[in-house]
């Protein structure tokens, strides 16, 4: 449906954000995904989050791999540079781009085939490097574009549209990220925008790799009885552990603070995430307990959602590389080239 272009002229009464942009200015091209696709709901949440944060769209770069999910960057932020790379290897592209220009806000969109099969190694190492990117894994447990094969996130025992049962263990993106030392791990459900939008906003403000696994049912190949990634299954078994509320830097925290149920975490840019515990015993700053809790609920067939883990003292790839504050792309040649006199001098070493 790409031949239908969206109107770019807006009604003057539309609500504007802090930089004077209406929500539509954060949209992209018309989606070409199936009607009812979970991915489109995630796109809507991403648009909402960027708009609410008043981020200038052209200061954003959106990268993706190959697959249904990886098409979605075309559907939001039309004024942002996009990069639809090769299958599974977006983490490498975003690592390089971030190294070159640290002033851009990076969002990576990927799918379960992209992230958990062909590109699993790249995802793991981007997490280890703590690249400053919001990484959204749109997880439907199935290969959509090639018409319905199981992905690595398909749960054992779940069945395909043709009725075949998956026999292999699933890779759980959230558990994987936790075990690799991820500094921000969340899980959402495409059908729960109220939970997703603040989660995305918090992830965007996190200094480092913010991993959000979003269960996103595939209406065509994986929304039937027997699938554990269907709308019905996820709605029934969704256990929200932590409700994240995001407060941008500019706003003061004035809302009620109730010790024991609400905890605020200061992010690097001065904004706050307020975490409201809805499950007993859940501490989102304790990696081991977060891991144990997700495993525990999995045994009961439950999908734990919310901001599962956050490390307030995250040091990203630029801290590790000790790079200058100025983006490397903006350093003048004079600061990079030592010049002919120095070349003459340094060659004494080679005599």
């Amino acid at each position: 449906m790409t031949y239908i272009s969206k109107p770019t002229v807006h009604h003057p009464a539309l609500q504007k954000n802090a930089i004077g942009l209406v929500r539509r200015e954060y949209e992209g091209a018309m989606t070409t995904l199936c009607a009812g696709c979970g991915h489109d709901s995630i796109t809507a949440a991403i648009i909402q989050a960027f708009w609410e944060l008043s981020i200038p769209p052209h200061k954003v770069a959106k990268l993706s791999g190959i697959g249904c999910s990886s098409k979605t960057p075309a559907y939001f932020l039309r004024e942002a540079h996009g990069f639809n790379g090769v299958h599974g290897r977006m983490p490498a592209l975003v690592t390089g781009a971030n190294a070159a220009n640290r002033d851009i806000i990076y969002i990576g969109v990927s799918g379960d085939g992209d992230s958990l099969s062909i590109g699993l190694g790249h995802l793991c190492h981007a997490i280890r490097r703590n690249v400053n990117v919001l990484y959204v894994l749109e997880n439907n447990g199935v290969y959509g574009l090639t018409k319905g094969q199981f992905s690595a996130s398909a749960d054992p025992g779940s069945t395909s549209k043709k009725g075949e049962a998956n026999t292999m263990e699933a890779i759980d993106g959230a558990l994987l990220a936790l075990s690799l030392g991820a500094t921000f791990v969340a899980r959402g459900f495409s059908g729960d925008k109220a939970q997703l939008v603040p989660m995305i906003k918090a992830g965007l403000s996190h200094q480092g790799f913010a991993f959000i696994d979003v269960i996103s049912p595939c209406v065509t190949f994986n929304d039937h009885d027997g699938s554990t990634k269907s709308y019905a299954y996820t709605r029934e078994r969704n256990v929200e552990v932590v409700q994240a509320d995001f407060v941008p830097h500019a706003q003061a925290i004035t809302t009620e603070y109730d010790p024991g149920t609400v905890r605020s975490v200061l992010l690097h840019d001065g904004s706050w995430v307020r975490l409201r515990k809805v499950a007993d015993q859940y501490d989102p700053t304790d990696r081991d307990r977060a891991y144990a809790f997700i495993r525990e609920r999995q045994k009961h067939g439950e999908v734990v959602t919310g901001l599962l883990y956050i490390s307030p003292d995250s040091s990203d790839v630029h801290e590790q590389c000790n790079t200058v504050a100025t983006p490397l792309t903006q350093l003048p040649h004079e600061q990079l080239c030592p010049g002919s006199a120095e070349l003459e001098k340094l060659q004494a070493r080679f005599r």
Binding site: P57, N84, C337
Partner: protein, 598 residues
């Protein structure tokens, strides 16, 4: 009749015993005497224990190619005695450690044996296993100094430069040198008939390996992002770059780095990072070898088709597969020229020595950005890891990076709309934009089918329009890559064509053939796609010998494919056993072809 400043010798030791410092010391001392010298390190893929050799060629005429026959063998590794004894030229010398007797089967009547009790003397003078082994290796350098007439003052000065801050180490090294020197002087007629005499031919030269020189090129060209996965023989390129950056790329006020080096999880990620960084506007590169390029093919197709700059160094080693990781070859010529599935053609630069490695490294970044495409700099293990004597490197301070057609915020303000792949001036190169600069600059970079506006397409005509333009663009690069080096001789009807590191062997071979009355013109190609001069040279000669280091004649194949030259006009001369090519390979190859024709 003594032979002065024109001979070769070889030192056989075991890996990890400290022989590298002794060999370096000898090389450097000869160089400081003003005598042209080259060293070839023949090493195993191993950390400790396996045999290793160092070959030093002294040539007052300045020839740098390897010669496989040696006037003197310093045989210090009993495990390779048989092979080492066999490699000495008749009438030559064999130096060995006479602390133990030499087996009778190793005695050749046509050699002179120089037994020096290195272990015995060092065991008496030094204590501790480690010191005894290390000093034994320094002692042979002392003996060689006496036998070959290496200036002992220079040796002393070099030790002082190296160990000046560690007097104890300096003292024991000097003692070890003296032990060898004194014993040789007392027991043999020094110097031998092969000997050194000071010259003044190295004053404006340096001794440097190609990886270090290429790293300098990256530094000077302003590369800020380096991504890599360690691989022999390319590893030292990034290590050298890191060393230079630590010195020259620190922000004085903060001690923060004006560069980022990313050690990737594999070569696929390394090239991905380079493409990501270049896309964002940095000058980025990755050093690797053949196995790395194999892995990078998918991403290279993306960079070619989506038109993203990237600079790659392929320090070639012996393939296919793991092959012989510590041996040299030119086995990646075809792969780099057409890397990736689908129709692609890549700009390749072929340095012949570390000087060109420096110059072409810098040029590669300009070409990559001007043509918005991957650029390969193909060296090999011999160029990359061995010390070559080359004229001092120089730099033009008026150099400014050619960033190609990158639209600024001001330029984007002026345009109504921006289309990424629209060729507005007909040169095949379309303007690009960088993220974060201007809302109008936004576009979607993709490896999937796209039209000239940058939009997704599955329309055949739209697809063809873009890929045909890219083809024209790369063809135009033929005029921008370094031109071939040509050397003509009066009356020559035959040509000899080569590439990269074979140059040293070819120029020596052509001199020898010319002395025998054989006039052959010479062309060394230095860039791909080939410029018009290349086709003209092949056209102008009845036949040309194509000299290269791979089994299948990959340069010859490229020449046939790209210039349409008939197979009959191109005679293949190849050596691909893993050692650097020697003049005799070229001469015997040429003569064999001529005899066959006659």
């Amino acid at each position: 009749m003594p032979r002065t400043n024109d001979f070769a010798f070889k030192i056989a030791t075991a890996n990890g015993t400290g022989s590298a410092s002794a060999n370096g010391l000898i090389m450097q001392a000869i160089f400081r005497m003003g005598i042209p010298v080259t060293g070839k390190n023949v090493f195993p893929s191993n950390i400790q224990g396996l045999p290793t050799w160092y070959e030093i060629r002294v040539s007052q005429k300045g020839y740098t190619a390897r010669i496989p026959e040696f006037d003197l063998m310093v045989a210090l590794n009993p495990a390779t005695y048989v092979k080492d004894v066999a490699e000495v030229r008749s009438g030559g010398w064999l130096m060995y450690d006479s602390s133990w007797p030499l087996d009778a089967t190793l005695i050749r009547q046509d050699l002179t044996y120089i037994g020096i009790p290195l272990a015995e003397m060092c065991n008496a003078r030094f204590t501790g296993m480690r010191e005894r082994i290390l000093m034994k290796n320094i002692a042979y350098a002392g003996a060689l100094a006496a036998l070959l007439q290496i200036d002992s003052g220079i040796v002393r000065a070099l030790l002082k430069e190296k160990y000046g801050r560690k007097p104890a180490l300096m003292e024991s090294n000097q003692q070890a040198v003296d032990i060898g020197y004194d014993y040789a002087t007392a027991n043999f007629d020094c110097p031998l008939a092969i000997r050194l005499a000071p010259l003044e031919k190295t004053a404006d030269a340096i001794l440097i390996d190609g990886n270090t020189a290429a790293a300098l090129g990256c530094l000077y060209a302003g590369a800020t992002v380096g991504a890599w996965y360690p691989i022999t023989p390319a590893t030292s390129l990034m290590e050298a770059f890191k060393g230079f950056c630590q010195k020259y790329r620190q922000e004085p006020e903060t001690n923060r780095n004006r560069y980022a080096i990313l050690q990737a999880e594999d070569e696929i990620a390394a090239i991905g990072m380079v493409i990501g960084a270049s896309w964002a506007g940095a000058r980025a590169f990755t050093p690797t070898s053949g196995p790395g390029i194999s892995l990078m093919n998918e991403f290279l197709g993306l960079a070619y088709y989506a038109e993203v700059p990237a600079v790659l160094f392929d320090v070639q080693r012996t393939g296919p597969s793991t092959g012989m990781p510590t041996r040299t070859q030119q086995g990646d010529l075809m792969m780099c020229a057409y890397a990736s599935h689908g129709d692609t053609r890549h700009i390749c630069l072929y340095p012949a020595d570390p000087r060109e490695a420096f110059e072409f490294a810098a040029a590669a970044f300009d070409l990559a950005e001007r043509f918005q495409t991957p650029v390969f700099v193909l060296t090999d293990l011999d160029i990359g890891m061995n010390d070559w004597m080359i004229p001092k490197l120089s730099w033009d301070d008026s150099y400014r990076p050619d960033r190609g057609k990158v639209l600024s915020a001001e330029q984007l303000d002026e345009v109504r709309t921006f289309s990424r792949y629209l060729d507005t001036d007909g040169d095949g190169i379309t303007a690009r934009t960088l993220p974060g600069v201007h809302p109008k600059g936004a576009f979607f970079t993709r490896g999937s089918g796209h039209n000239r506006f940058g939009g997704y397409t599955e329309d055949g005509d739209e697809y063809v329009e873009v890929v045909d333009r890219i083809d024209r663009k790369i063809q135009r690069a033929a005029r921008a890559v370094p031109a071939p080096i040509l050397q003509t001789m009066p009356g020559a009807r035959l040509g000899l064509v080569t590439v990269g590191g074979c140059h040293a062997a070819c120029v020596e071979a052509l001199d020898i053939l010319a002395a025998e009355g054989m006039a052959i013109d010479y062309m060394r190609v230095r860039g791909f796609p080939f410029g018009e001069e290349v086709a003209r040279f092949l056209e102008a000669h009845e036949a040309s010998f194509v000299v290269e280091q791979n089994r299948d004649g990959q340069l010859r194949n490229l020449l046939m494919l790209e210039t349409g030259t008939a197979a009959e006009k191109l005679e293949s001369v190849r050596y691909y056993g893993g050692f650097p090519m020697s003049a005799h390979h070229v001469i015997s190859g040429v003569k064999a072809k001529l005899e066959k024709a006659a």
